[in-house]
Amino acid sequence: MSVLEGLRLAVNGLLSNRLRSALTMLGILIGVSAVILLVGVGNGASVAVQQQIQSLGSNLLTVFPSNARSTGGVQQGFGTGSSLTLDDVKAIANRQTSPDVVTAIPSAGGRAQLTYGNQNWNSSLTGTTQDFPSVRNYQLASGQFFTSGEVDAASKVAVIGPTVATNLFSGADPIGQVMKINRQNFRIIGVFAPKGSSGGFNNQDDVVVVPITSAWSYLLGGRGRNVQQIYVEATSAEATTAATTEVTQVLLDRHHISDPTLADFQILSQQDVLNSAASTTGVLTLMLGAIAGISLVVGGIGIMNIMLVTVTERTREIGIRKAIGARRQDILLQFLIESMFLSGLGGALGILIGFGLAKILPLAVSTLPTPVISTPSVFMAFGISVGIGLFFGLYPANRAARLRPIEALRYE
């Protein structure tokens, strides 16, 4: 008996019990579409997180002051120290000692209350220097960024993110306007272009950036002229490791520390963050896939159940076929093809429905990351569903093939 003949028999058999076949297929269909959709969502989340981190700049290093030690040697919390200075920044940016570093900028800030007219907005304040846009991948939508002259002069100028512009000025042009930052007048000279990474983590569009000198003088009163973080731009994403080594050496020298394990600072590269995020989202995807996989197994058991019923129902037919010359393998093939056809068709429909849901669901639930469905996962889902038909069809088909013809013929 050829496979084609078996396929014809299978379709014939399935059509004779349409409702039952459809319901059985539904089990696999739901399983496969759940796998497609949930793995897609997992991948989508992974892509979204990576894009967000990438938008910070993949060649970015962040230097934090490490745990401050009180005189008794008691360690305090992460980033509580105040060991970094503006001179450290200048030393790091020196191309002589650190050839893999493009430039470095200091950062100091906190939350700030912004007021314009009768509008209020609470935003994230950053004091920094003129190289901030290039290091942090910010583009200007309008106006300009402050210059080194304005940093040296501690000018009361500010550049705001698009979220701030929308909430404070609601459509009006903010350039040239004077707003209050923590009750101090600052003139707005520029607005950033959106970075397109709203939702999750810190909103990079909800920022206000001022010269670090102005922040020290007017806004961060009482905390001294310390630098909370140094952002270092490496020449490329690949050069971050070399740049980390160079920055470590420069800072160890400047801080007169000979033992690297006692360093009063820590360096975090964006690559590290990216890697840890990737492994986190990888686990998420795996977990979603596993949950969906369970429903696929349940669907497979449904197929086995129905195939067992079918074999019992068709005992007499099996007897007739054996009497007129069907061999074991003919009967085995017939029922295997039937169960594989059932699961394969269910799988194919499940892929279509999974695709459809992946398109529709993000429209209905806006917080859902856009599912990313990879071609291999589609082929894999189809392959697995056919495999499930094979695996769960094997027992019933074998049972049919082993029926003895006289007993099968006598069956009523």
Binding site: R321, K322, I324, I406
Partner: protein
Amino acid sequence: MITLEGITKVYRTGEVEVPALKGVSLHIPEGEFIAIMGPSGSGKSTLMNVIGCLDQPSAGRYILDGYDVSALSDDQLAWIRNRKIGFVFQSYNLIPRASAVHNVEMPLIYAGDNQQRRERAMAALESVGLLERAGHLPNELSGGQQQRVAVARALVTDPAILLADEPTGNLDSESSLEIMKLLRDLNQQGRTIVLITHEPDIAAFAQRVVRLRDGVIVSDERSAVTTEMAR
């Protein structure tokens, strides 16, 4: 054509051994129309299963068309059933979801014989006079017609013997006559036919009648005389 030598068959029901055939020897030459008769429990169904290669004898030798069938595997028996034996059952045993012509061509499918499959099936249907019903499902046919489809299915592989197990058991007398005349015609064309029945009227169509009782042959006679009905 068929040689049975000392065939015994013992069924085992738990601890008890029930002998169904106690040493049956029989020779059926080619072209013979033989009827095997006997009351229920005489072992005729068991004999039919053995002759039809649906069951293996417990002991004895069975030679069918030159093949020693007593020692074949399941798949080899399937091949023998497919090529050498055509079955006609009391309850027709057609596959309900398949059309008449598809039922008839089914043995050819298992024979792996794809050459002019449909044509040969149609020819077999024509020989039983059911060409115009080829596309009908079994439940759209009368009992007599269904049995004729079954005869066509039995003939399509051109088997060595036609094995008919109470072929008229479910039919009215008119249809019974039709089927028996069909079998007689086939025999006259040279086909070996083994008929199993308990009705003397039906057995009268055969040239030779073997009577079975309690698992042994009690009589084996050639009848030159045929009944009124058979004529």
